[in-house]
């Protein structure tokens, strides 16, 4: 009980043991969570919250939440370098801009992998990666609007920015 976060008032225990093979089997837990959260979202305002990794859950579980319009908050716990660079400058078109963003993401994530490998660790921060790429998507929209407006820093382009 000491492991429960402070403020926990209710706990649901789901048996996750395959008694034939005597191994942990989280399929039942996953099904329960999906059904439980899905049902909650029908009845009352609900949101999903994840940080670090996806806690062993399938990647698609969270895609499923999002697909059913359930608000999802991903917390990026990795430090990020300053990404406030305007990739739209000196960029000919959206295709080139998109390639620049992919390159930016590739360099950044590969750099993290290299640093982790050098210390004998690996990149398990699935949720963090998703958060990072998600923020990159937002930056891309802004850069694209600036590029298409023809004036990278114009007021008009700023007005068109998607609310994030």
């Amino acid at each position: 009980m000491g492991d429960f976060p402070m403020g926990t008032t209710h706990v649901i225990l789901v048996s996750s043991v395959n008694e034939e093979s005597m191994t942990a089997d989280t399929k039942a837990l996953g099904r329960f969570k999906n059904a439980f959260v899905g049902n909650l979202s029908h009845e009352m305002p609900s949101m999903a919250l994840c940080s670090y990794s996806f806690g062993g859950d399938d990647f698609s579980l969270f895609a499923d939440y999002v697909g059913r319009n359930l608000p999802l908050i991903c917390i990026d716990s990795r430090p990020r370098f300053d990404q406030d660079i305007d990739l739209a400058i000196n960029t000919a078109d959206v295709t080139e801009l998109s390639a620049k963003f992919v390159e930016l993401a590739k360099n950044h994530l590969e750099s993290i992998d290299r640093d982790l490998f050098a210390t004998g660790s690996w990149n398990f921060f699935d949720c963090s990666i998703i958060s990072y790429l998600h923020s990159l998507m937002g930056s891309f929209v802004q850069a694209r609007l600036r590029l298409e407006s023809g004036s990278p820093k114009s007021t008009e382009a700023r007005k068109k920015q998607v609310l994030l």
Partner: protein
């Protein structure tokens, strides 16, 4: 119990149906707009990096196991073997690699601990029962060390048997690692794309 199962199944089917309906009616990730194209590229990038890391982890896992085999060959006593295996188990733990033979997952920061192992530990009373990872053909990072247990107990195995058994286990483990199925982010593109972008742009 039956009611609960039926209710659970009904909920599950209802949710799947709702999801399926949303996928049919929606087209997130299918349009050729710039955001979707970028999201698809980023998903491919994630999968590429994940596979690259997976391959590197397999390579590292196999190399440290092979190092153990090589070093254990020079052992002349069980005590020496004990030192070698403890040293390498520490290294395995540091590298944090893990292959679960039940679900064939490479890696996992928390590891996957079959209950059988815990059961083995609670029942442990003799030399090999105290090393279930050797006995069962599994190499686990934190429990692989050879322990003597009762100082007065007679070892049922000599060094050559120990080397032969552990060698066979580790070689099998290397084979399992290299042949384990890749279990990265295999999913339909539109689902990953949706996760990346749809809650941004809806």
């Amino acid at each position: 119990m039956l009611t609960f199962i039926l209710l659970d199944q009904w909920l599950w089917m209802a949710l799947k149906e709702k999801t399926r309906e949303a996928e049919i009616n929606g087209n997130e990730g299918l349009e050729d707009d710039p955001e979707n194209l970028l999201a698809k590229s980023l998903v491919e990038l994630m999968q590429m990096l994940y596979r690259a890391q997976d391959a590197k982890r397999r390579e590292m896992a196999i190399s440290v196991l092979e190092n153990f085999l090589e070093e254990s060959k020079a052992c002349t006593t069980i005590d020496e073997f004990n030192v070698v295996i403890q040293k390498h188990s520490l290294q395995w733990s540091q590298w944090n690699f893990f292959v679960n033979p039940n679900i064939e997952v490479i890696g996992g920061s928390r590891g996957e601990w079959p209950l059988a192992l815990l059961n083995d530990l609670t029942k442990a009373s003799t030399f090999f029962e105290l090393t279930p990872s050797l006995r069962d053909g599994r190499v686990f990072t934190n429990y692989v060390a050879v322990r003597k247990g009762d100082d007065n107990a007679e070892y049922p195995f000599d060094l050559s048997q120990l080397l032969e058994t552990s060698g066979e286990i580790v070689r099998n483990r290397c084979k399992e690692i290299s042949e384990a199925e890749y279990v990265g982010w295999e999913m339909k593109d539109y689902m990953a794309v949706r996760l990346l972008k749809s809650f941004h742009f809806k």
